[in-house]
């Protein structure tokens, strides 16, 4: 408990993460010294997480529109039209810092937050994905973080009842002090029943729903806790605690009162809790909001207005209820055993007024809280370009089969089964493509439509060339969705970077955003939602720039879905797209030669689009039997994955004589897919590729139980599988089961 409100001093202002000039801006805006509660409100609204003050300027350049986009960035989640009166609602959000401090709860509440963003809009969550980055496996904290994050994601999603169907996991020493947890959720709604935060109507009740408010998460995104020592022993840790059971009840209750026509506006209480949700509802609707904190359901006694306004307790919602619907809404919430309290009203004053125990604790201009937040055009420098690597200059002692065996058993490529088996990926009975494929595929209701989704980014590329890396992240998500036969529709981006006050880090952000924008535009793959996580830095060293892209696409007929496993022996294996042997920033270079340098592979967006369109058409016309995109690891890793998924081997021709075999097998040229074709379809597929102007080459033929590369030692598929499956369980000390 805070006995009395502290005096506003420069130190207190600094502890709230506000710079002196930002504080001056506050004084000018309100014409007086803020109260302690008001200072807290400003710090919550004006921190990087809520205001996007470093990134906003550059986010404006992203393409956000398409005929099928119903709602772009700016709401809780993006919304796209998928036909038949249905909409897909999705977003990805980071919970990086909390997941480092307390991995289980940090990751769990990250999942909870993103699910809430989706069902706040009236959508029932139908799939969850997550993109995870951990430090070097040899770092003493990595195992603990991995175990905690995975159990946290599993415990929340499994209990809530959403299938966790896909994602990615990567390791790099640059994440040693800052692991990343990017959680994505996808929901399904009726396209004409989307709910928004914008309040309408004066004098309507503002209703608080869900779990009670406690002292957890008060310092939230803004503060280190230092100066609040007097009350510290009574405060919960700054990481919130998740309750998936409460969230499941909240979901059912929210969807029920939406269906009953009770809801005018709705906003979940996420970062900055009550403050952010109330201000957004009012500001978006050009209305004032008056809150009476005496009515707030609290978990503990003696909470101050400051604490209530800044608490980040989980599983809470704020709503404006339609006139005369209070009783009906309350009855539904009581049925689900949840708190329901009228905590305020909409007003026509455009003021955000907070009352507590007969005192006015805050009285601020509501629109300016958001609109007048600082906006920075931070100085930035372009990342210096790196040279293209000439394969002939490399001193390679490995053999091709030896390099494949090492790569396939290395942390980044090893099977992540140990992780995804802890997630319920089957619940709701719509999971048509389980973890391990190019994209997860989830059927829409009873079909035949399905959604395909994928999370992608190659941080090494982004660090070496932010523009090309940003392009590549978008292209790879687009490619993965294409590889199952779906048409990519839109993406959500989760931008994880270091300290934007450093010009070189800001340069990474700017470069990646330009690349993302260019690719999104060229591929008709607009950005509909996203999240920015900056200051991912420890001891002055930032993470690799990691703009995770979460893509969503539509498959018209689930029966036509493609999968990556070889289907039978005796089929022709083709690669579509050009192979030049690009080794710069490749996994081969990093894992086998222990160097991360050179220019990353460029993405030709026109070729990317045409190649993808051809592959999708081939899948739709039933001309290919297996499809896999070629990404990091190159051709041979992709072929091995197709063999591992099926148990069927292949006989592969030697590389063209003019090419370095390592560059051929492990180069990471973009815009490529491997397909298998029955003999009867061979000529037709070749003709289609020629007509589309897409280069293609025959790699070999499926069959047998090993990968036989001409002139190389055979690789037994089952032995390769053992390597592939072994690393993670052994690393986690779990044995091979």
């Amino acid at each position: 408990m805070i006995p009395s409100e502290p005096k506003i001093t420069p130190e207190l202002v600094a502890e709230h993460g506000l710079k002196p000039d930002e504080y001056e801006r506050i004084l000018k805006l309100i014409g007086r010294e803020p109260t302690f509660t008001e200072l807290g409100i400003f710090s919550a609204m004006w921190n990087e997480h809520c205001s996007y003050k470093s990134s906003r300027l550059h986010l404006r350049g992203l393409p956000t529109k398409a005929p099928w986009v119903i709602q772009g960035p700016g709401e809780n989640a993006g919304v796209i039209d998928i036909g038949d009166g249905k909409a897909a609602v999705f977003k990805m959000e980071s919970h990086n810092h909390p997941s480092y401090i307390e991995p289980h709860q940090g990751a769990a509440t990250g999942v909870g937050g993103i699910l809430r963003d989706v069902f706040t809009m009236g959508a029932r969550p139908i799939a969850a994905l997550n993109a995870l980055r951990f430090g070097d496996p040899k770092h003493p904290r990595t195992r603990h973080l991995l175990a905690g994050v995975v159990s946290g994601i599993g415990s929340y999603g499994n209990s809530f009842g959403v299938p966790t169907v896909g994602g990615l996991v990567g390791f790099h020493t640059r994440y040693d002090g800052n692991n990343l947890v990017n959680a994505m959720a996808v929901g399904l709604a009726d396209a004409d029943k989307i709910f928004y935060a914008k309040a309408t109507g004066v004098g309507l009740p503002v209703v608080y729903l869900g779990s009670k408010t406690g002292r957890d998460g008060i310092h939230g995104a803004t503060m280190a806790s230092a100066e609040f020592g007097e009350g510290a022993e009574e405060k919960r840790p700054t990481v919130q605690v998740g309750d998936p059971f409460a969230e499941k009840l909240l979901l059912e209750a929210c969807l029920e009162i939406m269906e009953a026509g009770c809801v005018v506006a709705i906003q979940d209480m996420g970062a900055a809790g009550l403050t952010c949700s109330a201000v957004e509802m009012g500001a978006k609707g050009d209305l004032g909001i008056e809150l009476d904190l005496d009515k707030l359901p609290c978990r503990e006694t003696g909470m101050s207005a400051y604490e209530m306004m800044l608490s980040e307790s989980q599983e809470r919602m704020l709503m404006v209820i339609a006139p005369g619907k209070e009783d009906e809404a309350e009855a539904i919430f009581r049925k689900w055993g949840l708190d329901f309290a009228i905590v305020g009203y909409t007003t026509d004053t455009l003021r955000f007024v907070v009352k507590h125990k007969g005192e006015i604790k805050a009285d601020l201009p509501i629109k300016e809280l958001g609109d007048e937040a600082p906006l920075y055009d931070r100085p930035w420098v372009e990342t210096p370009k790196q040279q293209r690597i000439d394969p002939a200059s490399l001193d390679i002692t490995a053999t091709v089969p030896g390099a494949l065996e090492r790569l396939i058993g290395s942390p980044d490529f090893a099977s992540k089964r140990w992780i995804w088996e802890q997630y319920d990926y089957l619940i709701l009975n719509n999971t048509a493509q389980r973890p391990g494929g190019d994209a997860a595929v989830v059927r829409v209701e009873n079909g035949p439509k399905a959604l395909a989704m994928s999370c992608d980014v190659t941080p090494r590329y982004c660090e070496a060339d932010p523009f090309e890396g940003g392009k590549q992240a978008v292209a790879e998500a687009w490619r993965n969705i294409t590889a199952v036969g779906a048409k990519p529709l839109a993406l959500t981006d989760n931008l994880n970077f270091g300290n934007p006050e450093k010009p070189e880090i800001m340069g990474q952000l700017v470069g990646c955003l330009r690349g993302i924008g260019a690719a999104a535009l060229a591929l008709d793959f607009p950005v509909v939602s996203g999240n920015v996580s900056l200051y991912n830095e420890t001891n002055g060293r930032g993470i690799l720039p990691t703009p995770t892209i979460g893509g969503v696409g539509l498959l018209d007929d689930i029966e036509k879905m493609a999968t990556l496993d070889f289907k039978a022996g005796g089929e022709t294996i083709l690669v579509l797209g050009a192979t030049t042997g690009w080794l710069g920033q490749s996994a081969f270079l990093s894992e086998i030669l222990d160097r991360e340098d050179g220019a990353p592979p460029p993405v030709d967006l026109d070729l990317e689009r045409r190649t993808g369109d051809l592959v999708r058409a081939l899948i739709n016309d039933g001309l290919v039997t297996a499809v896999h995109d070629v990404s990091d690891g190159g051709l041979l890793v992709a072929l091995a994955e197709m063999a591992l998924a099926s148990g069927i081997g292949a006989t592969l021709a030697a590389p063209p004589p003019e090419m370095n075999p390592f560059a051929f097998w492990f180069g990471e040229d973009q815009a490529r897919y491997i397909v298998t074709v029955e003999n009867s379809a061979k000529a037709l597929v070749a003709r289609r590729a020629e007509l589309a102007g897409i280069p293609f080459a025959k790699l070999g033929t499926t069959g047998g139980d090993r990968l036989n590369i001409a002139g190389e030692r055979p690789i037994v598929v089952d032995a390769l599988r053992e390597r592939h499956e072994a690393w993670l369980p052994i690393y986690m000390g779990a044995g091979l089961m």
């Binding site: 159990s151 599993g154 415990s155 499994n158 209990s159 809530f160 009842g161 309750d243 998936p244 059971f245 409460a246 499941k248 009840l249 689900w336 055993g337 995804w420 088996e421 802890q422 997630y423 319920d424 990926y425 089957l426 619940i427 709701l428 009975n429 719509n430 999971t431 048509a432 059927r443 079909g447 035949p448 689930i558 029966e559 779990a734 089961m737």
Partner: protein, 232 residues
């Protein structure tokens, strides 16, 4: 057939099992809220679905076993009515005394979602008559507490009376208690009551009924029930 699916706060596979029942029987089951005190008139089959009833923060299924609707379920079972408990439903049946034993945390202390191979030990029950005796079927599991445990006397009684209906097996069809995925005693995946009218099982037959999203080995369980009830 009239089926009723119970819904506890925190149930989350009620929709999956309702869909499976409708797919096989053509009739939507009634969804019955935990606070109700009676089953719909003429209910033939009661299903307790998977999930985390009341959050399962206490021993799983312990609170649900004391829900208002459970009195009606006990009475239904006592009359010989059919009861099917899947996953959390199996845990609730054990906690409510309708089946013996208990489900504890998986031996490796982790949640596990995986396809499991099961042996159908007998096909003279209302739940399994559409399977061949000894058939090996593939159902998925998705649980953190599916490790079936009972005292030696109870286990012996279950085995002697042939009440183990589903058993986890290795790919060669034999059970291996040391390798079983969740540590279950005698590799038990599902058991029936003395009168063969109450089945509890951890794996999810309702998630393997639809060829669009996977194998269909679970379908025969629901077809068995529909067949039995149509004859009756």
């Amino acid at each position: 057939m009239k089926a009723a699916v119970l819904v506890f706060p925190g149930s989350n596979r009620e929709g999956d099992v309702a869909r499976a029942l409708e797919l096989v029987s053509g009739v939507k089951p009634a969804m019955v809220w935990h606070a109700d005190t009676a089953l719909p008139a003429g209910t033939d089959l009661v299903v307790l679905p998977g999930g985390f009833s009341y959050g399962d923060y206490l021993r799983c299924g312990a609170i649900a076993a004391r829900a208002a609707i459970m009195e009606a379920v006990r009475a239904h079972a006592a009359r010989g009515g059919l009861v099917l408990g899947i996953c959390n439903g199996f845990q609730i049946l054990c906690e409510s005394g309708l089946l013996p034993g208990v489900l504890v945390r998986n031996a490796r202390l982790r949640f596990i979602c995986r396809e499991a191979l099961l042996k159908v030990e007998r096909n003279d029950t209302p739940f399994t008559r559409r399977y061949a005796r000894g058939a090996i079927v593939r159902f998925p599991v998705a649980h953190g507490e599916g490790n079936y445990t009972a005292d030696a006397t109870t286990l012996k009684k279950l085995e002697d009376e042939g009440r183990v209906l589903f058993r986890y097996v290795m790919p060669d069809g034999h059970r291996d208690d040391a390798q079983v995925l969740n540590g279950a005693a005698n590799s038990i995946a599902g058991i029936v009551s003395e009168k063969l009218n109450v089945l509890g099982l951890m794996p999810h037959p309702e998630n393997h009924v639809d060829p669009q999203v996977g194998p269909t080995d679970g379908r025969a369980l629901f077809e068995s029930l529909v067949g039995v009830l149509e004859k009756a």
